[in-house]
């Protein structure tokens, strides 16, 4: 208990916890739709593009989010197009974009400041990275995501389950798909500095996959993902504080444990 009080006595920890849990919540909600539509790789691709953009921003000495958010939103737009277009090999294209972005980021950084602690923290995350503006940003973002989820929940379900049916009945599927990928892009940019480029996509993917082991309706999967993501984040960050592990890795590890537990319970239940 005293450790938890101690954690909350550091302003940077409080900021990291606020931003992290809100970002986890958003990522989990958006993730349900992405994972079920087989767009999981988009999250991964976006985080790599985000790395490139953050590195370039750091090298140019500009506020990182100002560059990274628009760049990643544009990338989200393209990745979605690529993935829904069966003519191009979507997975291969995403892999190309991912590695190219990392390469660009690394080259730009080594030309200027050299590969320093900043780049390391973009790769694997750092809870020290969160400032006041991030707290503000994450609150705004999560309010938007929650509102959209509540207002468009039934449409999101319909589009996720059956895009063609929804489109045939007059729903603007492209609009909703784009909306979801833009929100995912923003979520990833805000979250990746805590979680790290390599690990942020787990926040999108794990909660849904874990929930799907036990829950059988869309609504229950959505609710369970939201709860699991926040619980796993909180446990992860406490573990990371006590054990002195990097936060991102600890959170992913906790998510993995949760996944395994759900798989086992699912098997026992049959």
């Amino acid at each position: 208990m005293s450790t938890i009080i101690e954690i909350f006595s550091y302003p940077f920890m409080v900021r990291a916890i606020i931003v992290g849990s809100l970002v986890s919540l958003c990522a989990a909600l958006l993730g349900v739709s992405l994972v079920l539509k087989r767009y999981s790789m988009i999250g991964d691709g976006l985080s790599h593009v985000g790395f490139g953009a953050l590195s370039v921003a750091a090298a140019m000495n500009v506020a990182p989010l100002k560059i990274a958010i628009p760049v990643v939103i544009i990338a989200a737009f393209f990745l979605l197009r690529i993935s829904s277009n069966s003519k191009i090999q979507g997975d291969a294209a995403i892999a190309l974009i991912s590695s190219s972005s990392i390469a660009a980021g690394v080259i730009v950084t080594s030309m200027t400041s050299g590969l320093n602690a900043d780049v390391y923290s973009y790769m694997f995350g750092s809870i020290l990275a969160m400032g006041k503006s991030d707290v503000f940003m994450s609150i705004v973002l999560s309010v938007i995501v929650l509102l959209i989820y509540v207002l468009f929940y039934n449409k999101i379900f319909s589009i996720t389950f059956d895009q063609n049916f929804s489109k045939a009945t007059g729903i603007k599927t492209d609009f909703y798909n784009t909306l979801i990928s833009i929100l995912t892009a923003v979520t990833i940019v805000v979250g990746m500095r805590i979680m790290g480029t390599m690990l942020i996509s787990s926040l999108v993917i794990f909660p849904t996959l874990t929930s799907m082991r036990l829950f059988k309706s869309f609504k229950s999967v959505v609710i369970s993902s939201a709860i699991i993501s926040i619980i796993c984040f909180t446990i992860g960050i406490i573990v990371s504080y006590i054990m002195n592990f990097p936060a991102g890795a600890s959170i992913v590890a906790v998510n993995l444990v949760a996944f395994i537990v759900f798989v086992i319970i699912g098997k026992i239940r049959g």
């Binding site: 079920l36 539509k37 087989r38 509540v150 207002l151 468009f152 929940y153 039934n154 449409k155 379900f157 319909s158 996720t160 389950f161 059956d162 063609n164 049916f165 929804s166 489109k167 045939a168 009945t169 007059g170 729903i171 929930s211 799907m212 829950f215 059988k216 309706s217 869309f218 609504k219 229950s220 999967v221």
Partner: protein, 237 residues
Amino acid sequence: MSILKCENLSVAYENMVVFENVNFEIEEGDYVCVVGENGSGKSTLMKSILGLIPIRSGKVEFLNGLSKNEIGYLPQQTVIQKDFPASVYEVVISGCINRMGLRPFYTSKEKKRAAEVMERLEITSIKNKSYRDLSGGQQQRVLLARALCATDKILVLDEPITGLDPIMTDEMYKIIKEINKKNKITVVMVSHDIESAVNEADKILHIEKGVKFFGTTQDYINSDIGKVFVSRERNVR
């Protein structure tokens, strides 16, 4: 009274023409089967009517009070749906989505409609089951129920009996016929099963890069193209 009219409709993927100059009219209360070889453009024709793929030239018209979002569509199943966590009820009521506009939630009227449709298709007892745990036949019933939530006027069914065993196939045909005759809902069904098509439907639309035949089933059986196609498909079986 026609409710759907295609005029000189052409569709192409890239530069490959799928079909050209398709002309036909669907009358209210029709039961039309769309037949043709694999890859002849049957499903593509349905998708272009529903606005899912772009039309190269020509037009699709909805007449006499039918509007585009009042079509109950039963698409072919997708890979995504195989392990999708959704209850039967969630899937069925999502058929009411075309009535919603910007309203975020379903009204009690829509919930009642979903309940009635489930009752009619005898799936009320599996209402809370997960869609992915159902048999192929039950899944098709659920998708048909969703389509019925969306329409009182016309159903477009894309190979609704794919993957069903003979008993479930017969049941499905029985339900579709009942919907057509009792509830007076127009049915347009894509089928690769020519035998059942000529048994079930009142009209046949034979597609092969364009319209090869459109008319009553009786005329089709007596036509040259009909004779050839029916007997060849019989021999394949």
